[in-house]
């Protein structure tokens, strides 16, 4: 083969590659998306099936709203939904109020055992919830926090606080101290310095961490299962109720789960860009 032919051959190969590459990439991504999203799809399908059709795998069936009627009208599902919102939202609000100053202190001040404190906070996330649930349960019963909003919100800090503190701390460390001092010289009081100069700078990280914390809190199962009773029910617990002693109403479980997932999906779609940039920016440098 002559050199010339080789050249045209290889350039031909290249142009074919150029076409194949995006196709292959998209195909791979589609396959992965199908694989990853399949449980969600299956859940939605189940929600529209009647109990009788539950155990077959045909995709063509008579959709029914029976399950929705049973869950939304027949039970106090909305109450659980609302209560979950209160608990998860409350937990995140307290986390932001307490965690941002905490992150600031960890980033700016030097005190004894600073790194140990920071690591201790992070370590709350290492321990499985089941490990601490029994003592917490006993304590909650004794002090009257069992089955209260406050009790749940408090214990949710274990889930939400470490994440926010570590992300926001990284953001604070990236801001030069001189920016604060400049604002001080400009005549702003400490809280104005904080809200006018620092908050806008940490906002991406704070929002991303708070929303992620919200999702974690929303999904929490172990804590509300053990630490709440009849008064307060989160939707993760409520879904269990459709497992009766004689039969499991998979359709109703699917409806409860589908609706429970909605806020998370909406939140995640809204903040997708924010989330990736916000978390990676702070975390890598922190």
């Amino acid at each position: 083969m002559s050199n010339h032919q080789q050249l045209t051959d290889s350039s031909k190969n290249k142009s074919i590659l150029k076409i194949l590459e995006p196709i292959g990439r998209n195909l791979g991504l589609t396959l992965f998306a199908m694989f990853a999203l399949f449980p969600l799809v299956w859940m939605v399908i189940c929600a529209f099936k009647s109990d009788a059709q539950m155990y077959n795998t045909v995709f063509v069936f008579q959709p029914t709203l029976e399950n929705f009627r049973a869950v939304l009208i027949g039970t106090d599902y909305f109450k659980a939904f609302f209560q979950n919102l209160v608990v998860a939202g409350g937990a995140v609000i307290i986390t932001v109020i307490a965690g941002v100053p905490c992150a600031y202190a960890l980033a700016r001040y030097n005190f004894k055992k600073k790194e140990d404190v920071a690591f201790q906070i992070l370590s709350f996330k290492f321990a499985p919830e089941i490990m601490v649930i029994l003592p917490i349960f006993l304590i909650f019963q004794k002090v009257g926090l069992y089955d209260t909003f406050f009790g749940l919100i408090w214990v949710y800090q274990l889930i939400t606080m470490p994440l926010l503190i570590w992300v926001v701390r990284g953001y604070f460390e990236d801001i030069s101290v001189e920016v604060e001092q400049a604002a001080q010289l400009d005549g702003y009081t400490w809280y104005e310095v904080f809200f006018k100069t620092l908050v806008p700078l940490i906002k991406p990280g704070m929002v991303a961490a708070a929303l992620l914390a919200f999702i974690f809190a929303w999904n929490s199962f172990t804590f509300p299962l053990i630490l709440s009773g009849f008064k307060i029910q989160t939707i993760t617990i409520t879904a269990l109720r459709y497992i009766a002693s004689d039969t499991v109403h998979y359709g109703q479980v699917a409806v409860a789960s589908t609706i429970a997932v909605l806020p998370e999906v909406i939140v995640a779609l809204f903040i997708q860009k924010h989330l990736v940039r916000g978390l990676s920016f702070g975390a890598v440098k922190g």
């Binding site: 700016r108 030069s176 001189e178 920016v179 604002a183 010289l185 005549g187 700078l201």
Partner: protein
């Protein structure tokens, strides 16, 4: 507009320190018994190597550090316990410290908005300052889009837009490259000429201090070494440190033993045959076998064109820098360098005879480093 007075100011950092304020750990004084007075409208340069307490002094003036002991006045007001915002100062930070989410205009307006000035007043003030610092084109941009030099212009503009009584510049040029540095240096000078505000610049670059300041304060280890006009500190250094710190290339400082030969006193150097006559004005104070440190600037060392009494020594290094020529001679362990604008050429090894400029040959006490004066 105001004068600044420091009276016996001390600064000591505690052993355990907050991270936000500087790095030094030692339980020692960062600033020791510093007193001076800056007149209204004067441009003062605080010069010294890193860690000499110059930035700390500045931060105490700004109110970002406590004053451990002593008194500081701006005008007639004791400012020791005044909040930074009440001191009427402008500080340009080394790292610019602009607010990234705000545009340049908003950055400049930030301070005046805190003081609840009207938008008209703010606009007027910025319209005055922006052309002065040549940032009129940048007003709508945000700091991340600016170059280092532009950021520093904005930073200085922000410090002067509030019309401070005292303007503090903390190493404003240290992060810029050579050409930008020179340009901005001239602009700072011009700016000071225009607004005539008492200005203090902290720098470790002696060129900056020499060219900008009306008076220079040279500090080392928290203590003032000398205060004087640029010419004074150059021509009449108070001690060995100042002599070695000011001037580029630095002053030749060589330890020498004085020997009496007949009626004359001669400088002799260990490990070298070089002997140079001691200037006559020192005759009353020098003794035979006295040890001194001899200081002479490279421009004040001359190569004799005719026969003189000093010993010929071989040239060690010859460098042609275009506008000047540097010639170095080995004297024992040390190199004695000289510069000359004359277009001369010497081979390495060629013998030359040296003459020291009599008036500008300084003696220092080798123990204390203090200047020995006649």
């Amino acid at each position: 507009m105001a004068q600044l007075i420091l009276k016996n100011v001390f600064k000591r950092y505690d052993g355990q320190k907050k991270k936000m304020f500087q790095k030094k750990k030692e339980n020692d004084f960062a600033v020791k018994d510093v007193s001076y007075e800056c007149k209204d409208g004067e441009f003062i340069g605080i010069l010294g190597p890193s860690g000499c307490g110059k930035s700390t002094s500045l931060r105490m003036m700004a109110g970002l550090e406590d004053i451990t002991a002593g008194e500081m006045y701006i005008g007639d007001v004791l400012i020791n316990d005044l909040q930074p915002k009440d001191r009427n100062i402008g500080l340009a930070f080394e790292d610019y410290a602009l607010y990234p989410p705000l545009t340049v205009y908003e950055n400049l307006a930030f301070n005046m908005r805190a003081k609840k000035k009207s938008e008209q007043e703010i606009k007027k003030a910025i319209d005055y300052v922006a052309p002065l610092m040549k940032i009129d084109d940048l007003l709508n941009m945000k700091p991340p889009a600016l170059s280092g030099g532009q950021k520093q212009r904005v930073n200085i503009a922000r410090a002067i837009v509030r019309r401070p009584g005292l303007l503090l510049l903390d190493e404003p040029l240290s992060h810029l490259d050579g050409k930008m540095r020179q340009q901005l240096r001239q602009e700072i000078k011009r700016m000071h000429h225009e607004i005539k505000c008492t200005t203090i610049i902290v720098t470790h670059d002696q060129m900056e201090a020499m060219s900008l300041a009306d008076r220079i304060i040279i500090m080392k280890d928290g203590e003032i070494q000398q205060i004087g006009t640029p010419l004074e500190v150059y021509d009449d250094p108070a001690n060995e440190f100042v002599a070695g710190f000011i001037g580029e290339p630095p002053m030749n400082l060589m330890s020498s033993t004085i020997e009496k030969q007949g009626q004359k006193f001669m400088f002799t150097f260990e490990g070298s045959l070089l002997q140079v006559e001691v200037p006559r004005r020192y005759n009353k104070i020098v003794k035979d076998q006295m040890k001194v440190t001899l200081g002479v600037r490279p421009v004040d060392v001359l190569i004799a064109k005719e026969e003189v009494s000093s010993t010929p020594v071989p040239v060690a290094v010859y460098e042609n820098l275009g506008d000047e020529r540097r010639i170095s001679v080995r004297v024992g362990e040390m190199l004695l360098s000289m510069t000359t604008p004359d277009d001369v050429y010497y081979e390495a090894g060629q013998k030359v005879q040296l003459i020291f400029h009599e008036e500008r040959t300084h003696l220092f006490d080798p123990e204390t480093g203090e200047r020995i004066r006649v």
